[in-house]
């Protein structure tokens, strides 16, 4: 059945879309101009030749593909880790009875109220003591503590009727089989939400990689491309700066393009729930 379309609503959505698109197009256009031209006048974007020299400068850095690789390893590692841990913890909190369950759940939720800034020094010292800095575990492990993920998965598991568990157990399914084969497939929308948000968070993270990965071989893309900026980059290297923004944002854009259906479902689902 075709829904009736409200032209005013459509016009508002189009205007809102253009407003959101404009800064991105501006960034893209600036990235295609020479730094010297932009230093003299950013209106240079409206005339003269475009150039790919800023992208060549990025790709000419011998480390950039290594930084992309590091970002992929860290983001995927963190995503997989969070999905596994949050699913198991969520199942446990939703389905298992054990002493201190409620208190433990509250303690996990309290983690939502603790900002990263409050623990960063202690965390840095801990990893220094373990001599783990400049390693993938150091970049991944702190991100595995995901109170939001545990909360989300707990809520999803709670929403699934317990009769499903009981029916499977009547068929001699073990508890793990119930979790793995019956309940987990039903939480795919939540897994998608959590996975996408975790991946994006890990990909965009800057602060912890900045102070933990101090060897350029271990830089993630965010830290690596920032390190290539000169002082006063916003003036003397504006085109390069914008090309970096485009380059760093491309993988995220691709994730959105491929997973937009899940992202919309996930956000709508999370809001509804």
């Amino acid at each position: 059945m075709m829904r009736s379309r409200n032209p005013v609503a459509i016009a508002l959505v189009v205007i809102a879309g253009l407003l959101m698109l404009a800064p991105m197009l501006w960034v893209l256009a600036l990235s295609l101009k020479s730094n010297a031209a932009l230093m003299a006048d950013t209106n240079a974007v409206f005339d003269g030749a475009f150039t790919l020299e800023n992208y060549v400068a990025i790709l000419g850095n011998g480390q950039v593909f290594r930084w992309i690789g590091n970002s992929l390893i860290v983001s995927l590692g963190m995503t997989v880790g969070v999905l596994v841990l949050a699913s198991l913890a969520g199942y446990g909190f939703a389905r298992l009875e054990f002493p201190g369950r409620k208190i433990l759940f509250v303690i996990v939720l309290l983690g939502l109220a603790v900002p990263e800034q409050a623990v960063i020094i202690a965390r840095h010292q801990l990893f220094s003591w373990a001599e783990w800095h400049n390693s993938y575990p150091a970049l991944i492990i702190p991100g595995l503590s995901a109170p939001f993920g545990v909360f989300l998965m707990t809520q999803y598991f709670r929403a699934i009727p317990k009769e499903l568990d009981e029916a499977a157990m009547l068929d001699n399914a073990s508890r793990f089989t119930v979790f793995w084969k019956v309940l987990l497939p039903l939480t795919i929308p939540a897994q998608a939400t959590l996975g996408i948000f975790t991946f994006l968070h890990a990909w965009n993270d800057y602060w912890w990689p900045l102070i933990s990965a101090t060897n350029k071989q271990m830089f993630t893309l965010t830290v690596g491309i920032a390190s290539t900026q000169m002082n006063f980059a916003q003036t003397e290297g504006l085109g390069f700066l914008m090309a970096q923004a485009v380059f760093a944002g491309l993988p995220i854009l691709i994730v959105y393009l491929f997973f937009q259906k899940y992202i919309i479902q996930a956000v709508a689902g999370a809001a509804g729930r």
Partner: protein, 433 residues
């Protein structure tokens, strides 16, 4: 199991060959430009801070095949990263550091004294300019090897100055006291219809601070008689702010421009004098070679002396320092010293960035004097004055001073109130070291 073992052996066989070279880890800012200069070893062919630094390091590695240089390039200025590295016992061998930051690390024992080291490579403190030596000397000891001195300058659009009748004998007519400054600026405004000054003053506090420090220094004012206690409620500080408030109130400066807009505005001919540092000399000189507002009409000079007491301009500089590291081997230590010797030998190359050389001999050399505008800048070697070295936390202090100065100059606060707030906020920082 056998397959895993075979794969492991294969991977091991494919791994990098053992490298017997001594590793020298150099950490620096100035950005990365491998695409353009990654293979350049002819330093004379490099331009700009990033290009020249990259080419010098490339050349060093080419001439010292027994040393493998690991170059850690950090996001400017990189001190958060350095502090994290030092906290995790991962100190680089050499680090670029501003003179104004050295005391923060020196006071905590995080960098090594260089008194005994520099003479071993033929670089004695006596060879430095006064400004460069002051940047690395604390309590009688030398804590680094200066790379350069930088200072804010008066970049002048000579075409507009000529139109304003402020050129004599091919040179800009500069004020010798505050009254002349206001009079010349008003003459400039009347004849060109443009403000005398171009300033990047929106979201940018360093400029306010540098102006403030400079004109307090010129009056022999002492803001930090005690390095742990700021004293800003002085007649000299009041006068420095009053002068710039007067300029602001009379519309003799551009307003509400950020740094980028001010650079573009100066290149477009929006005003006569741009107050910005040594690092822009090359860019503006290049613009003067092309069509545009600066075409054939660019000059640059240190801040003129407006007060009779002292010829001074606030200055800072870049330096190489060696973080303390008990695990550094004698070979790594020797490699670091070889690099410092090499860099000192290429000081002229570095001075092409626009910064003032740290070595007196380079300033006195005909080749440096032959570089564009350098003759006029040589005065900085004596006039360039950093804050007293005992003053720690100079970066955050710079922001506080700039914020309060901006408030006073724009009229958001009365000058006495701004100075009182400046002093209170700076002392909050210094009392909590």
């Amino acid at each position: 199991m056998r397959i895993v073992l075979t794969l492991a052996l294969l991977l091991a066989a494919c791994g990098p060959a053992k490298d017997d070279r001594t590793t020298l880890t150099i950490q620096r800012f100035f950005g990365a430009c491998e695409a353009q200069y990654g293979a350049v070893t002819d330093v004379a062919k490099a331009e700009g801070e990033c290009g020249i630094m990259t080419a010098i390091i490339n050349r060093f590695e080419a001439e010292n095949p027994d040393i493998r240089v690991v170059e850690n390039i950090v996001f400017w200025p990189g001190y958060d990263q350095l502090t994290a590295q030092l906290a995790s016992n991962d100190a680089p061998d050499l680090v670029t550091m501003h003179g104004s930051v050295i005391s923060d690390y020196q006071a905590r024992g995080l960098i090594a004294p260089m008194d005994a080291e520099l003479p071993k490579i033929g670089v004695t403190p006596a060879a430095f300019t006064g400004a460069a030596r002051a940047a690395v000397t604390i309590e009688g000891h030398v804590w680094g090897m200066p790379i350069d001195t930088w200072a804010p300058l008066w970049h002048i659009n000579m075409n507009l100055f000529r139109e304003a009748g402020l050129v004599r004998g091919g040179k800009p007519v500069l004020p010798r006291n505050p009254q002349e400054l206001i009079a010349q600026a008003q003459q400039f405004r009347q004849r060109t219809g443009k403000p005398y000054f171009v300033q990047g003053a929106a979201n940018e506090y360093a400029g306010y601070t540098r102006n403030f420090y400079t004109f307090v220094m010129q009056q022999q004012g002492d803001l930090f008689a005690d390095p742990r206690k700021a004293n800003f409620r002085t007649p000299e500080a009041t006068e420095a702010l009053r002068l710039f408030k007067d300029i602001y109130d009379r519309d003799l400066t551009t307003k509400n421009q950020d740094y980028s807009a001010a650079v573009a505005g100066f290149m477009r001919g929006d005003g006569g004098v741009f107050l910005v540092g040594t690092w822009m000399v090359g860019a503006f000189d290049a613009a003067a070679q092309k069509d545009g507002a600066l075409a054939g009409g660019y000059a640059v000079v240190p801040y003129p002396q407006l007060y009779p007491q002292r010829d001074a301009t606030f200055a800072d500089g870049h330096n190489w320092v060696m973080p303390t590291n008990t695990e550094r081997t004698p070979e790594e230590h020797a490699a670091a010293l070889r690099f410092l010797k090499f860099f000192a030998a290429h000081e002229f190359d570095w001075s092409r960035t626009g910064h003032l050389p740290a070595l007196r001999a380079v300033i006195d050399s005909p080749e440096w004097r032959a570089l564009p505008h350098r003759d006029a800048l040589a005065r900085l070697a004596t006039a360039g004055t950093p804050l007293p070295k005992g003053v720690r936390r100079q970066f955050p202090i710079e922001t506080v001073v700039g914020q309060e100065a901006a408030a006073a100059i724009s009229g958001a606060k009365p000058i006495p109130q701004a100075l009182a707030d400046m002093e209170r906020r700076v002392n909050d920082i210094l009392e909590n070291l």
